[in-house]
């Protein structure tokens, strides 16, 4: 193994650690929302600082690799892809933090189960989680087909999200005393939708690394 290969291998290990942490943050945010668990929400807020530490460390390591080893071809693409994946992972973790904040700061101790049901927040978070996990597996296995399959999953999230304005509007009419919770839930749905978008970005970077193809702004190539 060359010195650069060792450095890239260590970089991938570090990225995997960050990725696992972000997956766990999203998973915890789903559980915290479904159970309206304020303690779990506080835990997410605490762990968010760790995500930031990973982000800064990985940026520095990528910068060092470029400066010291001048990677080319697939090594360069991997380094560039990791920089962008890290950026997107950090954003996803931010959205998990946003969900946790809503729970931790809510004056209520429970959430209306009907609001949870009509918002499809569980399905949405489960889908986002699946996209995030699939993206990780596709990079681990260097499987670009699997990365491309992530785009279709995002379409499902987008469809549900599109309906959310109507659904939340109807809920507010039915339960005007819960207008704050309903609006917060609408906000959460938007956050989950953005998680899906960031998973898409990650999938694009994985395809760039494996196949040297740029899928950004190229819908036809995503199929």
């Amino acid at each position: 193994m060359t010195h650069l290969e060792t450095e890239l291998s260590n970089l991938r290990l570090e990225l995997n650690e960050m990725w696992e942490l972000v997956i766990s943050q999203v998973k915890e945010s789903r559980e915290a929302l479904l159970n309206f668990d304020k303690e779990a929400a506080s835990e997410i807020l605490f762990k968010e600082k760790l995500v930031d530490v990973f982000e800064l460390k990985l940026y520095r390591d990528c910068e060092n690799i470029i400066a010291l080893y001048n990677p080319v071809a697939s090594d360069l693409r991997l380094t560039l892809a990791i920089i962008k994946i890290v950026l997107n992972l950090e954003r996803i973790a931010d959205f998990a933090k946003g969900i946790a904040k809503f729970i931790a700061k809510s004056p209520r101790d429970v959430i209306n189960p009907e609001l949870l049901k009509i918002s499809h927040s569980e399905e949405l978070l489960t889908s986002a989680l699946a996209m995030l996990t699939d993206a990780k597996t596709s990079l681990d296995n260097e499987n670009s087909r699997m990365a491309i399959s992530i785009f279709a999953k995002d379409s499902l999230i987008d469809e549900i999200t599109k309906e959310s304005n109507k659904v939340i509007g109807a809920y507010i009419l039915q339960y005007p005393e819960e207008v704050d919770e309903a609006l917060n839930m609408h906000n959460i749905i938007r956050k989950i939708e953005r998680m899906g978008d960031h998973c898409n970005n990650i999938a694009e970077e994985i395809v760039f690394y494996i196949e040297a193809k740029v899928l950004k702004h190229n819908k036809a190539a995503r199929k």
């Binding site: 060359t2 650069l4 290969e5 001048n70 990677p71 080319v72 071809a73 697939s74 090594d75 360069l76 693409r77 040297a212």
Partner: protein, 250 residues
């Protein structure tokens, strides 16, 4: 029409085949880098273009080598004229034991040009083209050996340019130089390509990336891949190229 072209070139040193079916085209005013591990044939290929391989015993060449459309291995080819058209710079600076001025004027004098005015003008122009003039204008008549290694190499480039070639071959021109001198040579290559076609052999991958428009990767006498430098260094099509440029073999 490509300025340099080879068609199915095979080259043998006795029984040993050093080049295998090499076909390549190089356009005017471009820089082409030849890369590959030691012994891969890149320097042998470079030396085809000014018939330097003729100086080695038992060399046999098959195929066509065209410079500006002319088969330079045809019978009756004037090799001296060819070497006016195709200049060469070597790995180690090799100035003659003469003054700075006479080093650059040498090519003119052996070609019978002795007019004082023309010689002076050509020496100045060549030294300026080689980005050396400002450093030597007050020591033109001092020995070339008094210059630093980097200056000596630029002097050799000026010497090659003085006879107005259209093609300049460079065989690892910066490998014996410090980083500052190397940077100067690389900047110079950028400038020179406006007027000349340059073919450079280099072991320095980053240098190939920085100075060339096209790159050819050689391995055991074969041209494995040839293409735009930016493509070779970001997305090579052959696994052997990928392995070589990422340092996984060679």
């Amino acid at each position: 029409m490509a300025q340099i072209e080879t068609k199915d070139v095979n080259l043998y040193y006795g029984d040993f085949q050093a080049l295998k079916n090499i076909s390549m085209q190089m356009e005017k005013n471009t820089v082409t880098a030849l890369i590959g591990p030691s012994g891969c044939g890149k320097s042998t290929y470079l030396r085809l273009f000014n018939r330097m391989n003729d100086l080695i015993d038992n060399v046999k060449i098959e195929g066509e080598v065209l410079v500006e459309g002319e088969d330079i291995y045809r019978k009756g080819m004037n090799v001296d004229e060819l070497r006016i058209k195709v200049g060469m710079v070597f790995q180690k600076p090799n100035p003659f034991p003469k003054s700075v001025f006479e080093n650059v004027a040498y090519g003119l004098r052996v070609n019978g040009i002795n007019d004082k005015h023309i010689v002076e003008e050509t020496v100045e122009r060549s030294l300026k083209q080689a980005a050396l003039w400002s450093e030597v204008e007050d020591k033109l008549h001092k020995s070339a050996f008094e210059l630093s290694g980097g200056q000596q190499q630029r002097l050799c480039i000026a010497r090659a340019l003085a006879i107005s070639p259209s093609i300049v071959l460079m065989d690892e021109p910066a490998s014996a130089l410090d980083p500052i001198s190397t940077a100067k040579i690389e900047e110079l290559i950028h400038e020179l390509k406006k007027e000349y076609t340059i073919v450079i052999v280099t072991h320095n991958m980053q240098q190939a990336g920085r100075v060339s428009d096209f790159t050819g990767f050689f391995y055991i006498g074969e041209l494995i891949e040839f293409g735009k430098t930016v493509d070779i260094f970001t997305n090579p099509q052959k696994q052997q190229t990928e392995h070589y440029i990422t340092g996984r073999f060679g």
